[in-house]
């Protein structure tokens, strides 16, 4: 099953809508609640990041027998120092992010904690692609 979401960057009140829709879709598929929660949190943090840093983008989710693959793509400013960005507490988020309840440098660590595999490809001035893999319980398939 494949799902595509456009993540608008100009309306902050919509930030997180795509993750909410994915979570509901996973619930309808009967996936176990712990896996759903991990998926939802990882994607939600990525979606919020995309809105506050990159003026939106797109998200694609593919749900298969072995796991859930989510790919979030934006054409934002990119991440100059990924190692720094992965550190808890490090943030370059604008004030608007804090008004949303985010922007304190916990997003990427939360994504890493919940994903079975997290890949971030980023080029300054070009954009960022975040790939999240969640393995379904009972699946022995390794992350690619």
């Amino acid at each position: 099953m494949k799902l595509h979401f456009d993540v608008p960057g100009d309306d902050l009140s919509l930030a997180g809508k795509a993750s909410s829709e994915l979570k509901k879709a996973l619930g309808r598929l009967g996936i176990d609640p712990v896996t759903i929660k991990r998926t939802a949190v990882a994607m939600y943090e990525a979606e919020i990041n995309m809105v506050i840093h990159a003026h939106g983008g797109s998200a694609d989710a593919e749900i298969g027998p072995a796991g859930i693959d989510i790919r979030l793509q934006d054409s934002g400013p990119g991440i100059p120092d990924l190692d720094m960005a992965m550190q808890e507490g490090y943030s370059t988020a604008p004030e608007a992010a804090r008004e949303l309840g985010f922007g304190a440098g916990m997003g990427l660590p939360n994504m890493k904690r919940n994903a079975d595999d997290l890949r971030i490809e980023s080029t300054v001035g070009v954009g960022t692609t975040v790939t999240i893999r969640i393995t379904l319980p009972g699946s022995t398939t390794k992350a690619p």
């Binding site: 979570k23 008004e99 939360n110």
Partner: protein, 119 residues
Amino acid sequence: MKVSDIIQTLDGTLLTGDANLDAEISSACGADLMSDVMAFVKDHVVLLTGLVNPQAIRTAEMMDIKVIVFVRGKTVTKDMIDEATSNGMTLVATRFSMFIACGKLYEAGIRSGGMRERY
């Protein structure tokens, strides 16, 4: 402690329907930073927050949190109430500050909260 007891303890106003009033709550999380909520929260939890926006509702949705208490007498929009209702959540408003609201719930018997597994 039941959700109805929480409302009574906090002299709160129920903003949504009465769906979860008999639900049992065993722990609480007081936070305005939603990433912290997602990092620490356990099950059967009430979220206390001063953050009044749709992301508070969505964060609770991601974490399967069914009850949110908005502290410091903040006003919640109709859109938030509608979104919470469609997700089967209960929203409560209290005029107490975060500190006092958490203290009152602790005193009333909620003693559990999320804790970091490691630094």
